[in-house]
């Protein structure tokens, strides 16, 4: 297992701004390959806190997180090189565009690799590779990151993490603040990176349509606890989603409506709009 949570709890120190956020007693395992995990849950349910445990940015108050063989507990262990763990697990923060600071895109992407003592020439190659991975061309490398559009900034900052070539990619609400088309494009991009490299990708999101379409596994957090861990369809077959402040994907809602309104015998669990339309077509015509 690449990342293993064992009864992990975390409480923010009292007096802090985020006092309400905490996770309690979470145990889960994440494989190094071929998983596309969506982490969902209402605001303040501890999603970001959980994500930050994955690359040892915060240490659990109790329990242990094992990241590629290094055991992270509440105490700092001098033998563990925490910085190196961050290279294995790339974490892209919410609103990553705020982390940009260099005068060219290239320099900004190279910041990560250079921090990990990658030689300058190699870092340059990594930057070129990373910018292509996020669907931008090399002309962007010489541009000033502050003159880019919101979506482009996001891509550049994601490239900054991809340039580290992490084994696992964790993205904290990468699509927030984007228009629907931009969201779709970005998710397509993550799916493509996942397909091409097989890297386990963990995406925090509120968008159930995206969860249903892309995820191979869903984790649901509710008030700091892990309340569901399984495939998306199993989650959407449950009828108590509202109690976790979650909603069903648009396709399922429409299919349910169609099923009851027209009293049709259709399979309502279709991942995409196209598949749903096919299913209705099949029943109506057949």
């Amino acid at each position: 297992m690449a990342i293993q949570f064992r009864e992990v709890s975390y409480h923010y120190p009292s007096g802090g701004v985020n006092f309400y956020q905490a996770i309690t007693d979470i145990s889960l395992e994440i494989a190094p390959k071929d998983e596309f995990i969506c982490l969902v849950g209402e605001t303040g349910s501890g999603k970001s806190t959980l994500a930050q445990h994955m690359n040892a940015l915060i240490f659990p108050t109790s329990g242990a997180v094992e990241i590629f063989g290094s055991k992270i507990t509440s105490k700092r262990n001098k033998k563990i090189k925490y910085n190196d763990l961050r290279k294995h697990v790339g974490l892209v923060f919410q609103f990553p565009e705020y982390q940009l600071f260099e005068e060219t895109v290239e320099k900004d992407i190279m910041f990560g690799p250079l921090n990990f003592k990658v030689p300058h020439d190699e870092a340059k190659l990594l930057a070129e590779k990373a910018i292509r991975q996020v669907g931008l061309d090399e002309t962007y490398l010489k541009r000033n990151p502050f003159n880019l559009s919101g979506g482009e900034k996001k891509r550049v900052s994601i490239a900054g993490i991809l340039a580290l070539d992490p084994s696992i990619l964790v993205l904290d609400e990468p699509t927030s603040g984007l228009d629907p088309a931009g969201k779709k494009q970005l998710m397509e991009l993550f799916a493509k990176i996942h397909r091409d490299t097989g890297k386990t990708t963990i995406v925090i999101t509120h968008d159930m349509d995206l969860v249903y379409e892309y995820a191979t596994r869903v984790l649901v957090l509710h008030e700091g606890g892990l309340v569901f861990d399984g495939v998306p369809e199993a989650l959407f077959r449950r009828d108590d989603l509202q109690s976790f402040s979650l909603d069903y994907p648009e396709t399922i809602r429409i299919m349910k409506l169609v099923k009851t309104e027209f009293d049709l015998d259709i399979d309502i669990y279709k991942q995409t709009v196209t598949e749903a339309a096919r299913e209705i077509e099949r029943v109506m015509l057949g």
């Binding site: 120190p13 802090g16 961050r86 923060f93 982390q99 910041f111 990560g112 921090n115």
Partner: protein
């Protein structure tokens, strides 16, 4: 960085809380002046006693005030030693020859190791430092064996000791007084009080409302900006930035990676805030009403009388001596 608490306000309901913030601000200034007028240690001890009476009658925990003093311990210690070493007036109290010899160097190294090891229990860190310093003194004085590297006289004079105690008591009183004010007054009330007190400055063209607004907005945004800084530090740490270690050159780069985003966010935020204020019809310089106006009550009059008495008392003692 995560545990910085801005403003030390602790909720409560003793008379210190019910006082008008204006009274408290003036009170602290008046009492400080009174303390600075005092000349002898007994007088200062009396003032310290009075400060303690204020604390106890106001039901403020002394431990909390001591905690407020904690960061200043080093300053107090420094002041103490500075006075003790460099004031050479009055009768000679202590005269020893300090020797730096092979034996004492070995002792110092050993003693320092013992100190560093025990300092890991950080509950009594300050006490340990004091014990360490006392130990150093004995090592210097009583271990003149082996090859002597250098030796120097160590003398403490009566006046020096007196002055150092005097200065320390005075500092403690002043810090206690200001801590009492910040402990019992909300930052917003404090700024409102300041605004009202600075109101007469209008004559020379200074608008106290603007100052108060600037202060309260700054106070309001410190936690937000700190939160933001934490987020950016984490984000850059995810890209391998290490803010604690590394060579100076790397460190500067990493601090830039924090500062540039911070500035951009702060500017963006201030523009948004300005728009939000304007859309709620805020016009700089125009008079605004308040939800709660400050009321100068009977308690404040009583306190003023007490303050005048204190000031008069210290003036009298100064004139008489």
């Amino acid at each position: 960085m995560k545990n910085i608490v801005i403003g030390q306000y602790v909720p409560g309901n003793s008379y210190l809380y019910r006082l008008d913030p204006r009274t408290k601000i003036i009170g602290v200034i008046v009492l400080m002046t009174a303390v600075f007028l005092l000349k002898t240690i007994p007088q200062l001890l009396l003032a310290l006693g009075l400060a303690l009476v204020i604390l106890i009658s106001g039901r403020i925990s002394i431990i909390r005030v001591l905690k407020g003093l904690k960061p200043l311990f080093i300053l107090l210690l420094f002041t103490f030693f500075f006075q003790v070493f460099f004031n050479k007036e009055g009768a000679l109290l202590l005269d020893e020859t300090m020797t730096l010899s092979l034996a004492s160097v070995a002792g110092i190294v050993l003693w320092t190791i013992v100190w560093r090891l025990s300092a890991r229990m950080n509950r009594f860190r300050f006490l340990l430092l004091l014990i360490y310093l006392a130990g150093l003194y004995f090592l210097f004085v009583y271990l003149p064996y082996g090859y002597v590297l250098t030796s120097f006289p160590f003398r403490i004079y009566q006046k020096g000791l007196e002055m150092s105690i005097f200065v320390i008591i005075r500092l403690v009183i002043i810090i206690t007084l200001s801590t009492v004010m910040t402990l019992t007054t909300k930052p917003t009330d404090l700024t409102q009080g300041l605004e009202k007190l600075m109101h007469p400055l209008k004559i020379v063209g200074i608008r106290s409302e603007d100052f108060a607004l600037i202060i309260s907005i700054s106070l309001r945004f410190i936690p937000t900006i700190l939160d933001e800084a934490n987020k950016i530090m984490s984000a850059q740490a995810s890209r391998g930035a290490d803010f604690s270690e590394g060579r100076l050159k790397d460190k500067i780069k990493q601090i830039i990676s924090l500062l540039v985003p911070m500035f951009i966010i702060a500017f963006k935020r201030s523009e948004e805030l300005a728009d939000a204020m304007e859309s709620r019809n805020f016009v700089p310089g125009k008079p605004r009403t308040r939800i709660s106006e400050l009321v100068f009550g009977r308690l404040d009059i009583l306190t003023t009388v007490f303050l005048i008495a204190c000031l008069a008392g210290s003036i009298v003692s100064r004139v008489l001596s």
